[in-house]
């Protein structure tokens, strides 16, 4: 299928989805407060934007997101790489990892509040936690998967020491896998933003919670769309960077 045909079809899909939604909302089959019509969203946006609430919430969430994402990514990649690199360290931490891994970020909310209070730090902590695990496992697998022959090449040409091996062979070789972990973390991070803010930390999640308390469902939808857009933009930007970084791939 040609590219422009593909784009046209995707656009058509979105339009049909919105039209059907609008039709159901207007038909009165479902009461308006249970299902707001999509056409109510632009008006909601204008109100929120004029009062400055929208910008404030987006900026707040963005700051939790960026702090949590960078921290979780950095630590996740570091620990995942370390575990893949050193068998002894891997064995030492294996069961700790198995015990901590299945606990979802939301379950940490009580501790987040006790440790950080209802604060930016608490939200960032929860986001970092989610992102950490995704990157930990992605990096672990990626580093393990690096071609052993290339590592041997390093030894043959005097680049077998830890630093050259790590930075000239292991990390570049694992980069495609590490980047796909980063990308998954990017998306999962936004999901956690909402959960982390539901208990009162200023941001998109909190605003959604407030609006739903007032049954202002059109505002809830507005912030859902906002998150979707923010995710879309961050994923798009990431892909631009990734294509550039991995230009050596066929």
């Amino acid at each position: 299928m040609k590219t422009h045909k593909k784009i046209a079809l995707s656009a058509l899909g979105v339009v049909v989805f919105l039209l059907m939604w609008e039709a159901v909302a207007r038909s009165g089959i479902v009461p308006a407060r249970l299902l707001p019509s999509p056409s109510a969203v632009p008006a909601a946006f204008l109100t929120e934007f004029r009062s400055g609430t929208w910008q404030e919430m987006v900026l707040a969430s963005l700051s939790h997101y960026l702090v949590g994402l960078s921290l979780g990514t950095f630590l996740g990649v570091s620990f995942g790489t370390a575990a893949a690199l050193w068998i002894k360290w891997d064995a030492f931490q294996a069961w700790v990892v198995r015990m901590l891994r299945p606990i979802p970020a939301i379950a940490w909310i009580p501790f987040a509040i006790i440790w950080f209070g209802v604060s930016e730090g608490a939200a960032s902590f929860l986001i970092a936690l989610t992102v950490f695990w995704i990157n930990y496992y992605a990096s672990y697998a990626a580093v393990r998967g690096v071609d052993k022959d290339l590592i041997e090449l390093g030894y043959a040409f005097g680049q077998g020491g830890l630093i050259p091996r790590l930075f000239k062979i292991v990390l570049p070789g694992a980069l495609p896998g590490i980047l796909s972990g980063l990308r998954a973390g990017l998306g999962q991070g936004w999901m956690t933003v909402v959960a982390a803010e539901l208990f009162g930390i200023s941001g998109l999640g909190m605003r959604m919670m407030e609006a739903s308390g007032l049954l202002a469902t059109h505002i809830v939808v507005l912030y859902m769309v906002t998150i979707a857009l923010l995710y879309g933009v961050s994923d798009f930007l990431f892909m631009q960077v990734q294509t550039r970084v991995l230009s050596w791939q066929r």
Binding site: L153, F157, Q159, P164, K168, W248
Partner: protein, 261 residues
């Protein structure tokens, strides 16, 4: 356990010897329990010579090469590389059967790889890499990615990378084994030219007897279980018709005589 010893020499000589590497009673095995693969290998490679190691697959040719390259440790015996004193070079340059290029580096950066651990300036590194690319006739390909190259071109880059470190000895592990016949012939001719132009000492592992007779001026035959050196032949046949054939046939029967499953 015997690791590679590097002895530094002046003008490439120690006393009377003009050898680049000396193997003395080298035995090689995997693990500590398993029986050895190769036993009692004694071999001196003269400076500037082109030595081929032949033998059936699994006989330990490549393992022997890996021991000389320092990638595998011999169980016993001595491996000495007489290293020249000139600065900014490595004792060995290794060429693998698969070109083994780093896919995330452009061609010239792949050739620079071995120079990066040496006390060589950035400019010098680039200059030497470009000279090595010219030697293998790939000047103009410096900015390409490995995936853009053919199998033969990749192998040329592999040779350039090994030559760039100006090694005392060039070690080649069945470097043309994975190439098609035409490309292989081309690269064989190129390698002969490179040997003549640079005077590098070359230790070349192959299971292709024609290739060995065509290229090398000395052929070491490995055979038996565990394997040892069964023949050490001076060869000057080159591609000279009947001499070439008889040399190949003779080697073939040597190998067959020492072949055990």
């Amino acid at each position: 356990m015997a690791a590679v010893t590097l002895s530094t020499t002046t003008n490439g000589t120690t006393g009377t010897a003009t050898s680049v590497i000396d193997l003395e009673g080298v035995s090689i095995g995997y693990g500590s329990e398993a029986p050895p693969v190769l036993v009692d290998v004694n071999l001196s490679v003269e400076r500037g010579s082109f030595v081929a190691i032949v033998g059936p697959s699994g006989v330990g040719k490549s393992t022997l090469l890996r021991v000389v390259a320092g990638l595998h440790t011999a169980r016993s015996g001595g491996v000495v590389i007489h290293q020249d004193q000139r600065p900014g070079h490595r004792p060995v340059g290794l060429v693998f059967q698969d070109a083994r290029l780093l896919p995330w580096r452009r061609v010239v950066r792949n050739v620079e790889f071995g120079l990066e651990g040496l006390p060589v300036s950035r400019d010098e590194r680039r200059r030497r890499a470009e000279a090595a690319l010219k030697l293998v006739r790939l000047d103009g390909y410096a900015r390409r990615w490995p995936y853009e190259l053919s199998g033969g071109q990749r192998q040329r880059v592999g040779i350039a990378r090994a030559m760039a470190v100006d090694p005392d000895i060039l070690l080649m592990d069945e470097p043309f084994g994975a190439l098609d016949a035409i490309t292989r012939n081309n690269l064989q001719d190129e390698l002969r030219r490179i040997h003549q132009e640079t005077g590098k000492t070359i230790l070349f592992v192959t299971h292709d007897l024609e290739e060995a007779v065509h290229l090398a001026d000395r052929i070491i035959v490995l055979g038996g279980t565990p394997a040892r050196v069964v023949r050490d032949v001076r060869n000057s046949a080159g591609r000279d018709g009947s001499v070439f054939r008889s040399q190949v046939d003779q080697l073939r029967s040597e190998i067959a005589d020492n072949y055990s499953i």
